[in-house]
């Protein structure tokens, strides 16, 4: 019998927890724990593989490719390189489409996107069911994006979901509701990058939106952040985002001076994460703590018309995982009702 390595790694206590969970929550099943995988090559590191097992992850939302413009024409960008997928987890292809794409005519885009998803899945030996689209559409592109979703859904014939940003929940009268089966509420990237509050998550900012979730006319899942980044500020302006940068790393680096919590100045010019940091540049570190995740749980509970089917964490990456308890993701998901 084939035993998937993921199952083989499963620890006995976790199976017990799973059984207990099943027994105690028959009436309102807890949301499933899922992750986004947002890299350009699919290759799980040990800790990432373990996180899937420890948190009983059944679905992985995998960025297949982005769609952007090249010379005014929509093209796939950063296509995921993949050899094969683990069999125990269902893969949900996610396609990020830049808003600019819908400012141009994109008549047969749905067919191209479908073709590429199918080809990639076939090559990786995966059977895919649901497809998810991620696009920060605007009032100006709403018509073209929704038309795309409609056309895609009609040729795809299986479930289609889309990410929904907080402002799109609050101002749905203006931004519209995408014609998909489900939405995923992105509970992050809520602030202006470079402002004093965290641009990833700010409880006060979030509170301005949570009241509108219940009346949103789509069944919603929720995506929570577990990533960190350094906002590189040059001459008072945002110059770049340093992915996966966290406080511990900068504190240990003698090229930086700590100005205050979460804020560092570049003492000596250096290369970091592919960027060249000038003397005097500042880095504002933004990250999500376990406390933040608990706050989100509190603030989101009973905010949904129906409890979410899944809580999807963004994103599965060894560098993010080191900041958290191994099973916190499942615990957070269990608590959201």
């Amino acid at each position: 019998m084939y035993i998937d390595p993921l199952i083989a790694h499963m620890k006995a206590p976790i199976i017990l927890i799973l059984l207990l969970t099943l027994l105690t929550s028959c009436s309102t099943p807890s949301p499933q724990t899922s992750f986004y995988y947002w890299k350009t090559r699919f290759k799980l590191e040990d800790s990432e593989r373990r996180a899937l097992v420890d948190n009983e992850v059944k679905r992985l939302y995998l960025r297949y490719f982005d769609v952007g413009l090249e010379g005014g024409v929509a093209v796939p960008i950063g296509v995921l390189a993949v050899d094969s997928f683990p069999k125990s987890v269902e893969m949900v292809p996610v396609v990020y489409i830049k808003n600019e794409v819908f400012k141009k005519r994109a008549d047969s885009l749905h067919l191209r996107v479908k073709g590429l998803i199918e080809r990639m899945s076939k090559e990786a030996g995966a059977t895919v069911n649901e497809v998810q689209f991620d696009c920060d559409w605007s009032e100006g592109t709403k018509g073209a994006y929704f038309a795309f979703l409609k056309s895609f859904k009609s040729v795809w014939g299986k479930p289609v979901s889309a990410t929904i940003r907080l402002h799109q929940v609050k101002f749905r009268g203006r931004t519209g509701v995408p014609p998909v089966d489900r939405g995923v509420l992105m509970y992050y990237n809520m602030g202006k990058i470079g402002s004093e509050a965290s641009s990833i998550y700010d409880r006060k900012t979030a509170a301005r939106y949570t009241g509108y979730i219940k009346s949103y006319p789509l069944p919603l899942d929720v995506a929570l952040p577990i990533f960190s980044w350094g906002v590189l500020m040059r001459g008072g302006k945002v110059s770049a985002l340093l992915n996966k940068t966290d406080e511990a790393e900068l504190q240990a680096d003698t090229n930086f001076i700590r100005l205050r919590e979460g804020r560092y100045a570049v003492k000596h010019p250096i290369f970091k994460g592919g960027y060249y940091l000038h003397e005097g540049d500042e880095v504002k570190v933004e990250a999500i703590s376990e406390d933040n995740l608990e706050q989100m749980t509190e603030d989101l509970t009973h905010r949904f018309a129906k409890p979410p089917r899944e809580v999807i964490f963004y994103d599965l990456d060894a560098q993010n995982l080191i900041r958290y308890d191994e099973t916190i993701f499942k615990e957070v998901a269990d608590d959201i009702r």
């Binding site: 073709g115 040059r234 302006k237 010019p269 970091k272 994460g273 060249y276």
Partner: protein, 754 residues
């Protein structure tokens, strides 16, 4: 703030062009085509730096001058044809054949060419009858090699469709043993002591391995790295080895190799630039550690300073390594261009300006040190930084030193001359007659000669022109020489004061004869007495002083005809319609005024008062900004675009005023003999009233200066407008004219609530 107003200017300029009324400055802003960050520059790197560095001159574009590198698969086409033609040794005429083989024939036709005895060669190469007959000849070696090259295209130049085709290189086992054949080819060439061919096979093999076995790519490159000359083929091969290191995550080695490519092959500089990417500080340090000579290290610093915008740091490092290094020069030119950069002219958002004081201090000390090679550049740079810092004495000394080290190019000569003039003008406090005599030839050169000079090339003198004109004008204004100030910079506001008008008129009439400098001032002012008198005539016309206006306009002698019938008065204004409509009588400004004077005389003497008064009303209405003959009011001095906010404040209230028109419409109303006539006069008064409110609330409200109104007005303004004449019009409901207004005038329908 400045940026915004500049953008607004550009918006307005479109309308200005439509109206064919040129507003100075706007024309200048539009004339340069796309903005590239050189708009505020007086310092042309071309005067100092070698051409291969041109793409890396400081610019808002990705690459200066070429914008983007688009030569990825054509970069070496010409070199290849030339080198292979030499190789096969069949004379220069064989170039056509070589070109065909390399750039036109596909793999299949090359294959049959090699096999057949009666080759189907194109006409142009029919001279080479049959390749079979040339066995052992280098031509066969070449075609054989070309066939391998074509077979490599499936992985080396991938132009597959993004969506439907696989953009990955095909599996190695589908390539028909290409690797082995390339190895054999290279070995055979080696045995034959054919170094040219062997090196080419080496290139192909390393390229092959880049796609299929990266470690072998590096090993194969290294094995023969010293076996061949350092030519294009060598650097192309090196670039693939660099790429292989990069793909293997060995960034230090990759960047080191790319630095060698950058320094070694001018045609691959943009490629090296694109690929040079230290990820972490340790990569960068390791890259430096890999350098074998100070010159190699200098290249790395040059790349860091240029690609990552830290010129001063890099220059300091390079100078320590090699004070004579030419690699300093590109960085210095970029530093200067950044320091003179004025964001008022740019849309660029994140831009870190170097510290000028620090830069000036170091550049001066370095130039004074006398070690650098390009002394002309360093002294000019010091002089210019001194000028930018207000240190004119140093500027002059440095420019003098630059002068004695100047290369014999016209661009270098003009560049130094331009910068010297800036320093001369910059240090002026009070402009004396001696200054004027001294500066005259230089000012003439800048303001008169250069704009007509077709050999001006890369010299950047637009900003200098503006700056000199403004600085001179300011100085003259400060010392009370207002006519000369106006000659250097024309300001509409000057003409709001009658006395000042007379001062410039006198200067243009007689004053300019005082000397060569005064004559030059008149020349650059591009103004005449007639221009002044025309403006005065227009002003009198708006005051309904037709006698005075006619007298002045007679001396002006402007034969331009007004574009439409200035006596039309419709329910809705449509200038384009009026301008296109056939016209029996065309009016010049003068004949128009004479006709008005004749009509006024008739009104005064009681002849056909209604008709003449209503036509006079129409004419004064049409002269105003709102009418079809607003061109009457446009002149060399009174300039405007398609929106009233483009009229200078000094003339704006005059141009948007319909008071004289209203006076005649009221006279017409009084003289009207029936309700049709009354309805018409009343409606015309309503039009004037409406314009009056727009002027009061929008165009003459200084707090709303330069706001540009697209589409409708906001309701806050709309509600303030009073419509006394619309109210009066309602008493003529039985007239045909009323019906016409109701049909055509949306404002009136809105007013009635219909």
């Amino acid at each position: 703030m400045m940026k915004q107003s500049l953008k607004k200017w550009l918006t307005i300029s479109v309308s200005a062009v439509l109206l064919a009324v040129a507003v100075r400055g706007i024309v200048w802003a539009c004339a340069g085509g796309d903005w590239d960050g050189t708009e505020s520059s007086d310092f042309a790197p071309e005067a100092f730096i070698d051409t291969p560095y041109t793409p890396f001159f400081f610019s808002d574009n990705y690459y200066y001058d070429i914008y983007y590198d688009t030569q990825h698969d054509t970069r070496f086409s010409d070199d290849n044809v030339r080198e292979w033609t030499t190789y096969i040794g069949k004379g220069a005429d064989a170039a056509k054949f070589v070109d065909y083989i390399l750039n036109a024939a596909d793999a299949k036709s090359l294959f049959s060419l090699l096999r057949s005895t009666k080759a189907s060669l194109p006409d142009s190469v029919a001279r080479v009858k049959s390749l079979k007959a040339l066995e052992g000849d280098k031509t066969v070696q070449f075609v054989q090699y070309a066939l391998f090259a074509k077979r490599s295209e499936v992985f080396a130049t991938n132009n597959a469709d993004y969506w439907t085709e696989d953009r990955k290189a095909p599996e190695a086992n589908t390539l028909g043993g290409l690797e082995k054949e390339l190895i054999t080819g290279m070995e055979a060439a080696g045995k034959n002591k054919d170094a040219f061919l062997q090196q080419r096979y080496w290139f192909q093999l390393v390229r092959y391995y880049f796609f299929y076995d990266r470690e072998k790519a590096i090993a194969t490159f290294s094995k023969y790295a010293n076996a061949f000359p350092k030519n294009h083929t060598y650097y192309r091969t090196l670039a693939y080895a660099a790429g292989a290191h990069y793909k293997q995550g060995r960034f230090a080695e990759a960047n080191y190799y790319y630095s060698l490519v950058f320094a070694g092959d001018d045609q691959l500089k943009t490629v090296a630039h694109w690929s040079f990417h230290p990820q972490e500080e340790r990569d960068w340090k390791q890259t430096l550690a890999l350098c074998k000579t100070p010159e190699e290290k200098a290249t790395c610093w040059q790349m860091l300073g240029t690609f990552y915008d830290d010129e001063l740091r890099s220059m300091k490092e390079i100078y320590k390594l090699s004070s004579k290094s030419e690699k300093l020069d590109l960085l210095l030119s970029r530093l200067i261009n950044k320091l003179e950069y004025d964001s008022e002219y740019s849309y660029r958002d994140t831009f870190l300006k170097p510290n000028r004081a620090e830069a000036y201090k170091w550049v001066k000390a370095t130039a004074d040190g006398g070690e650098v090679s390009n002394k002309f550049l360093w002294h000019v740079a010091t002089g210019y930084l001194a000028f930018l810092s207000g240190d004119y004495a140093t500027a002059h000394t440095s420019y003098a030193k630059a002068g004695s080290n100047m290369p014999s190019t016209t661009l270098a000569n003009k560049q130094l001359r331009l910068l010297k003039l800036l320093a001369d003008v910059g240090e002026l406090k009070r402009i004396s007659a001696t200054d004027e005599t001294r500066l005259l030839p230089e000012l003439q050169w800048l303001l008169v000669t250069l704009p007509k000079d077709e050999t001006v090339g890369a010299l950047r003198y637009s900003h200098a022109t503006d700056w000199v004109q403004n600085t001179m004008a300011k100085a003259y204004e400060a010392q009370g020489d207002i006519a000369k100030a106006e000659c250097f910079v024309h300001k509409a506001a000057y003409y709001g004061n009658e006395q000042k008008v007379e001062v410039i008129r006198t200067f243009l009439d007689k004053g300019y004869k005082a000397g060569a400098y005064e004559a030059f001032c008149k020349e650059i002012a591009d103004l005449t007495v007639a221009d002044i008198d025309e403006m005065k005539g227009i002003k009198l016309a708006f005051k309904d002083d037709l006698g005075g206006a006619v007298a002045l306009m007679k001396t002006v002698n402007n034969a331009t005809e007004l574009p439409g019938n200035p006596f039309n008065g419709w329910v809705n204004d449509c200038h384009d319609c009026d301008h296109m409509a056939p016209q029996k009588i065309k009016y010049t400004k003068l004949s128009f005024l004479e006709k008005l004077a004749a009509m006024e005389a008739k009104v005064k003497s009681g002849q056909e008062v209604y008709t003449n008064a209503i036509l006079l009303g129409n004419a004064f209405y049409n002269m105003s900004f709102f009418g079809n003959a607003r061109q009457f009011s446009a002149s060399r001095i009174i300039e405007f675009g398609a929106d009233p906010t483009t009229i200078d404040w000094i003339f704006r209230s005059m141009l948007v005023d319909n008071a004289v028109a209203e006076k005649y419409y009221k006279q017409a109303l009084d003289a009207a003999v029936n309700d049709e006539q009354r309805a018409k006069a009343t409606y015309m008064l309503a039009k004037c009233e409406r314009n009056g409110w727009y002027s009061k609330l929008l165009y003459l409200d200084k707090s709303k200066d330069n706001e540009y109104y697209y589409g409708g007005l906001d309701t806050a303004i709309e509600v303030q407008i009073q419509r006394t004449w619309f109210a009066k019009l309602k008493q003529y409901q039985q007239t045909a004219y009323y019906a016409e207004v109701l049909e055509e005038c949306g404002y009136f329908r809105n007013y009635l609530g219909k």
